[in-house]
């Protein structure tokens, strides 16, 4: 019973703060709400038994990526935005489509789960967190070691590119 309550609470937190990201006009509140979504997603990973990934999610997303977003937004210091949302016929259509897809998803989900009880798959046997982390480590460093190394190269390239972008004054548009 406790896990059901936890799931609904986390679903409420993630969906609520996700909606806030779309709807709040102030970008700093958006970033803080997105951080809350990330923490909620990390807690969802814990309910799914992916403890290590949950910790990494907390460190990488909530602890580093979104802190960077918030820092950049605070440096720009756009206290209020007059044109936070796009206007016009096309974006109006997009808004209607988004709302339609959202409500369709919710309605479809309810109908699906009410109609077919067999779609609720019972979870498999609980594995201990140590075992699942160990299995992940084996998979990462033995079978997929090439992908891991390629990611390392990617990160190096990204680091160099970011530094050069940030140091150039105005990028390719620099005034002479």
């Amino acid at each position: 019973m406790a896990d059901v309550i936890v799931f609904w609470f986390l679903a409420l937190v993630t969906v609520g703060s996700g909606l806030a990201v779309v709807l709040l006009p102030n970008p700093i509140y958006c970033a803080l709400c997105l951080a809350m979504t990330m923490v909620g997603v990390s807690a969802l990973f814990v309910t799914l038994g992916a403890y290590f990934i949950a910790g990494v999610q907390l460190i990488v997303y909530a602890g580093a990526v979104l802190v960077l977003f918030t820092m950049v937004l605070m440096l720009f210091d756009l206290k209020s935005e007059t044109n936070a949302f796009s206007r016009g016929v096309i974006t109006g259509a997009i808004k209607v489509a988004c709302a339609g897809v959202l409500s369709g998803l919710i309605a479809g989900a309810i109908v699906m789960t009410l109609g077919q009880r067999s779609s609720v798959v019972s979870p498999l046997a609980e594995k201990s967190a140590i075992d699942s982390t160990k299995a992940l480590g084996k998979l990462l460093f033995q079978e997929n070691v090439f992908a891991f190394e390629a990611l390392g190269v990617l990160l190096l390239v990204i680091a160099v590119g970011t530094v050069s972008l940030a140091r150039s004054k105005g990028g390719t548009h620099a005034k002479h």
Binding site: I28, L32, Y51, A62, A64, M71, M74, L75, S128
Partner: protein, 388 residues
């Protein structure tokens, strides 16, 4: 049903107790900091209220509570009021995962017409098997508090202090994480309790099929990872924004950094957060490198202490309580010594310049911790080859 309810209730109570313990430790640390700084600087320090000025803390608390509650005209009110509250959360949640003593065993008993137990209560907020990753993740959330306070205050000094502090936190998190990699490789686990259990017994090295055992030294992580320990300890100073890395609140340039605009109890909550980070760092250091709650003498390992106290008191349950108390005291002595080192360093070393700080983090500590992880990996591999 009743069995689970009691267990949940006790675990909830444990969380509250640990939070109260943390908050209660703060006034003692403030007193220690003020008396200690006075001792180091050859002054008296607070000595008027109560014996040795111990009641100064109570007077301070009353003062903080009765101060006027104000906020600056340019402040963003929501963030300004939320930031001090959020300052408490990461440190508290992280501290809950640190094991502080051996578990207490409670035998099955009958009460209120139903049978309860047997129970095993761990002296730890909650037992999470990936404790290290969890604690790192939680303490990385502290950057938000600082940013919220800095931007929400609507003042240039606060914003600059907050940007400095969060940049510093992110930079030193790398060195911190990498210096722990050595310990994780050595013990092969993310679980703090099993890490402490691996440090029991006497110090011994296995080389070329031979075992060298020391009679006096305990099997602590510090002897295997001296470089990692030093790097970890230095990085935690930067993580908790303490001198010599307290660039965030360099008084000469920034008045007081991100909490310039705060006063009264809100200020006190930032203090509790900062001391909370120090406590998490000290607890982690003790668990990684100083054998956690175990006594420092090799033959008095937790199992031996439990055996001795069981024989002394006659029953397994009361023996486990006595052993838990002994280990809790042992943990607290290590913990207190480490916290004293934090205070000692603060009043001994001068502050770095900002570029020196970043250079130290990125160009010195990061390569050294990488090298430490590399050497440890090779060492662990060689040891495992020699074993087979």
């Amino acid at each position: 049903m009743g069995k689970d309810t009691l267990e949940i209730a006790i675990n909830g109570l444990k969380l509250v107790l640990i939070f109260l313990m943390m908050v209660q430790a703060v006034p003692i640390l403030v007193w220690l900091e003020r008396r200690g700084s006075a001792f180091i600087q050859n002054r008296f320090g607070p000595n008027r209220v109560g014996p040795l000025g111990l009641l100064q803390l109570l007077a301070d608390a009353v003062k903080f509570l009765t101060k006027e509650d104000f906020y600056p005209r340019t402040a963003v009110k929501t963030l300004f009021y939320l930031a001090p509250v959020f300052a408490l959360i990461p440190a508290t949640l992280a501290f809950c995962a640190i094991p502080m003593s051996t578990p207490i065993q409670v035998a099955a008993f009958d009460a209120f017409g139903s049978s309860w137990g047997p129970y095993v209560f761990k002296i730890q907020g909650f037992d999470i098997s990936v404790g290290i990753v969890y604690i790192l993740g939680m303490s990385s959330l502290a950057a938000y508090t600082i940013l919220m306070a800095g931007w929400g205050s609507g003042s240039k000094y606060s914003l600059l202090g907050a940007l400095r502090a969060s940049a510093q936190t992110i930079s030193y998190e790398l060195a911190l994480g990498l210096s722990i990699v050595g310990v994780i490789l050595l013990y092969g686990t993310f679980d703090l309790t099993s890490m402490i259990q691996a440090q029991e017994g006497a110090l011994h090295f296995q080389m070329m099929g031979q075992t060298v055992t020391s009679q006096f030294l305990p099997n602590w992580g510090f002897f295997y990872q001296p470089l990692g320990a030093v790097l970890f300890f230095a990085a935690t100073f930067a993580e908790s924004n303490r001198l010599p890395f307290d660039l965030a609140e360099g008084e000469a340039e920034l008045v007081a950094g991100f909490h310039t605009e705060y006063g009264g109890f809100k200020m006190l909550m930032f203090f509790i957060g900062e001391y909370g980070h120090m406590m998490v760092a000290s607890g982690l250091f003790a668990a990684f490198y100083l054998g956690g709650y175990a006594l420092p003498i090799p033959s008095w390992n937790p199992a031996a202490v439990l055996h001795w106290s069981t024989e002394l008191l006659g029953s397994k349950e009361s023996g486990s309580v006595l052993a838990a108390i002994i280990h809790f005291l042992s943990f607290n002595i290590k913990f207190g010594l480490l916290l004293w080192i934090f205070i000692w360093v603060r009043w001994t070393l001068p502050r770095f310049r900002y570029d020196q700080l970043m250079d130290l983090g990125w160009k010195t500590m990061l390569p050294w911790s990488l090298a430490n992880a590399m050497i440890t990996a090779v060492g662990v591999y060689l040891a495992s080859v020699a074993m087979v």
